[in-house]
């Protein structure tokens, strides 16, 4: 499907107890590709991207990130996590550290970069998300949108090859959604490989190479945004689009 995929998921199956959450998921993501994953709640979108950096374990199948295989035993999880950045719905900034410390923690303790260098590089990323002047504030002093942009900068400090976004704008006030989406669009323009779980269909239209629609733990439809929105093939996709695009 894709030449030299940077993320490849083959035959992924996951159960929560007896509940079959992910069923035979196959997905290949090329370098620089931007994929939006959408679908009704409980369809397994978040679980799928959380499997990619092993925040969830899975029972069958294989995931490879940049050629590093990650089987159900999760043996090479540390190597995979170094290549994959993640942004969460609830930001998950570390509230006891300043913005700058949030961004230097992993470079210092995982990559053993000296503190001075880590701070210089963190400031570079904070400038990219347009909050360099708030570097010494604590996350609790910032708005949700600012916190989420810091979270993006924090993930970028580890220079990941792939970025995962798990509903990055769902916990935000409407006024703040735009600033986060703008940051993500900038990131996409720079060529970052992105897997984004979101309900922001405008973002999908503008940025995505491919839209993946999931329901009941399986991929129902995968298509270019133009085709997906104009001409959905599967009955479930049509229903979903008619529900969310009605307003």
């Amino acid at each position: 499907m894709t030449e030299n995929p940077i993320v490849s998921i083959k035959g992924l199956n996951k159960w929560y107890g007896d509940f079959h959450v992910l069923r035979d998921v196959n997905l290949e993501v090329g370098k620089g590709e931007r994929i939006v994953i959408c679908g009704p709640s409980g369809s397994g979108k978040s679980t799928l991207i959380r499997c990619i950096n092993a925040l969830e374990e899975f029972q069958e199948g294989e995931i490879a990130v940049d050629g590093i295989p990650l089987g159900p035993n999760l043996r090479r999880v540390d190597e995979v996590r170094r290549e994959v950045g993640m942004v969460f719905q609830s930001f998950n900034l570390f509230p006891h550290l300043t913005v700058l410390e949030n961004c230097t923690l992993a470079p210092i303790w995982v990559r053993n970069i000296p503190q001075k260098d880590a701070e210089v590089s963190a400031m570079k990323y904070l400038e990219r998300v347009k909050i360099p002047h708030q570097a010494h504030k604590y996350p609790g002093q910032m708005s949700g949108g600012q916190q989420q942009r810091v979270a993006i900068a924090r993930a970028l400090t580890m220079s990941p090859k792939v970025m995962l976004f798990d509903e990055p704008t769902s916990a935000l006030d409407p006024e703040m959604v735009k600033e986060v989406l703008d940051t993500m669009v900038d990131l996409a323009k720079e060529g970052m490989t992105m897997l984004v779980v979101t309900h922001e269909m405008g973002f999908a239209r503008e940025v995505a190479n491919r839209v993946v629609f999931m329901d009941a733990g399986q991929i129902i439809e995968s298509n270019t945004p133009a085709n997906f929105f104009a001409n959905p093939q599967h009955a479930r996709s049509k229903l979903f689009l008619s529900q969310i695009l009605r307003h």
Binding site: F94, K137, Y138
Partner: protein
């Protein structure tokens, strides 16, 4: 505004800010809204005033107005000599103050206690003031260097050797215990039917391991004997240990490329140790030994409570993490340990540690009575701290750990850098609660013949020179005040830390 029929409204002038009505702020406002705002509150206010009248006034009368301030013995504190109703008998405290602070610590050696107190204060105070720099060095000195110095200051005595000697002794004891375990198995094999031969084989195998170990240790023992035979065993052993440890740490931290910092730190630490050894004369036998049975009073109270507080924290953290571990054996051990120590009264623990433990230990092994009590108290408090800390850990959202993992931090680093700092901040009130409770519980050591502040006080009541009707009240008021100063200090400091950390640094 006037047009109420239209549903549309556009504000033309913004409403400016005004100050609150006078009657709801300030002292008058406080009276009106908090003290006298309803019949019930009026009643409660009156009751409160009466309570103050009946407790504070008599207390001041007893402690200050009617108190006797000067005198040489009990006669000064008797009503017929003083000419009025007698309150607190302060000359009693004055006469017994040394005993309350030092116990039976020999008078000519008490400067050592004072020096220890001074050192503790000099190290502790800068650590507690957030503005002062070098917290890492300060903490290192207080938690690692100070206990050792305090031991040699308070207890006295010197060193017979250093690292090489200690390692050799420890390993020899280890090898010997393996050998004797093997011997025991072989002996048991003779009396056990059926599985006897199997036990015999196992025993011989264990003995073989023990013998092999001691063979491996032979060169180390030879080095030790050479050192001990030389003129200055402590210094030669010290130099050897310093070289071995420095080289090892240098190589472990990356050798020529990144190890220089570690090497410098290591050499500086050894230089510090050398200075302490030289100044205190530890290589020449050190200060005269003062047996812990002679320690007493505030000295015991502080030694027991500070040791308990400092050692219970790492124990508590380890147990709290163990109890949340996914590894069943560790979790089971932690639960059993915590529940055991929480299920037993502290008095039982102290009693067991003091009178029963020696019966179980091998005959040649004796542990000082104070040390046994300290171990008991540390484990006991550690179990309580574990549950407090576990509460803090439970309050940290799962996303925090996930975010740290997603950044590539290992479990240990996630715990040490992200989860534990937040968890400990959440439970500062609970932790300090345990500290305060421990500080007061130290008086329980008097049941195992250690005389802490309260024990020393009660002992002093037996002195017929000071037997007056108010001696006991005075003594308890005085010790109560000392306990209060320490506990209230801890309480206020914890509040200060909480406020400092509170504003934006919590979830």
């Amino acid at each position: 505004m006037t047009d109420t029929t239209a549903s549309s409204f556009v504000r033309e002038a913004m409403v400016t800010e005004r100050s609150a009505p006078v009657k709801t702020t300030g002292f008058v406002g406080f009276l009106r809204t908090r003290l006298l705002n309803s019949p019930t509150n009026v009643l409660l206010t009156i009751l409160g005033l009466l309570l103050i009248w009946y407790t504070v006034i008599p207390a001041i009368r007893f402690l200050l107005v009617d108190a006797v301030w000067h005198g040489a013995d009990r006669n000064a504190c008797l009503a017929e000599n003083a000419g009025h109703a007698v309150g607190a008998c302060w000359p009693f405290i004055n006469a017994k103050l040394d005993q309350f602070i030092y116990g039976f610590y020999p008078a000519q050696e008490r400067w050592r206690v004072n020096l220890t107190f001074l050192l503790a204060a000099l190290l502790l105070l800068p650590m507690l003031i957030p503005r002062l720099p070098a917290k890492g060095l300060n903490a290192g000195l207080f938690f690692f260097a100070f206990p050792v110095i305090a031991f040699f200051l308070l207890h006295g005595g010197g060193l017979g050797g250093f690292g090489v000697n200690w390692t050799a002794s420890l390993l020899v004891a280890f090898a010997d215990s393996i050998k004797s375990a093997g011997d025991a198995l072989v002996r048991a094999a003779g009396t056990t039917p059926v599985v006897g031969p199997l036990l015999w084989l196992l025993g011989q195998f264990v003995v073989l391991i023990g013998v092999t170990l001691s063979l491996i240790l032979t060169p180390l023992l030879w080095v030790r004997d050479q050192i001990l035979a030389s003129g200055r065993p402590v210094w030669i052993d010290f130099a050897l240990t310093a070289i071995i440890v420095s080289v090892l740490l240098f190589l472990l931290s990356g050798g020529v490329r990144t190890g220089w910092r570690t090497l410098v730190t290591c050499l500086a630490s050894f230089a510090g140790i050398a200075i302490v050894i030289a100044v205190m004369g530890l290589d020449r036998g050190g200060l005269p030994i003062v047996d812990t049975r002679l320690w007493g009073g505030l000295l015991i109270t502080l030694v027991v409570s500070v040791t308990g507080i400092v050692t219970s924290m790492p124990i508590g953290i380890a147990l709290a993490l163990g109890r949340r571990s996914t590894i069943p054996l560790i979790r089971l051990f932690s639960i059993a340990f915590i529940e055991f120590w929480r299920g037993v009264p502290l008095i039982t623990v102290l009693f067991f540690a003091t009178y029963m433990l020696p019966l179980f230990l091998p005959g040649n092994l004796t542990i000082d009575g104070l040390v046994r009590a300290l171990i008991g108290i540390s484990l006991f408090t550690g179990a309580y701290q574990a549950e407090v800390i576990r509460g803090g850990l439970a309050a940290i959202p799962r996303g925090q750990g996930e975010a740290a993992s997603a950044l590539g931090l290992s479990w240990w680093k996630t715990t040490a850098l992200v989860v534990m700092p937040q968890a400990l901040r959440h439970v500062i009130p609970g932790l300090v609660n345990s500290f305060i409770s421990l500080f007061k519980d130290t008086s329980l050591v008097s049941i195992v013949a250690l005389f802490d502040l309260l024990g020393q006080l009660r002992a002093s009541f037996a002195d017929p020179n000071w037997a007056t009707p108010t001696t006991a009240f005075t003594g308890f008021a005085f010790t109560g005040l000392i306990y209060f100063i320490f506990c209230f200090g801890m309480s206020r400091y914890s509040l200060f830390v909480e406020h400092r950390l509170n504003p934006y640094r919590r979830n």
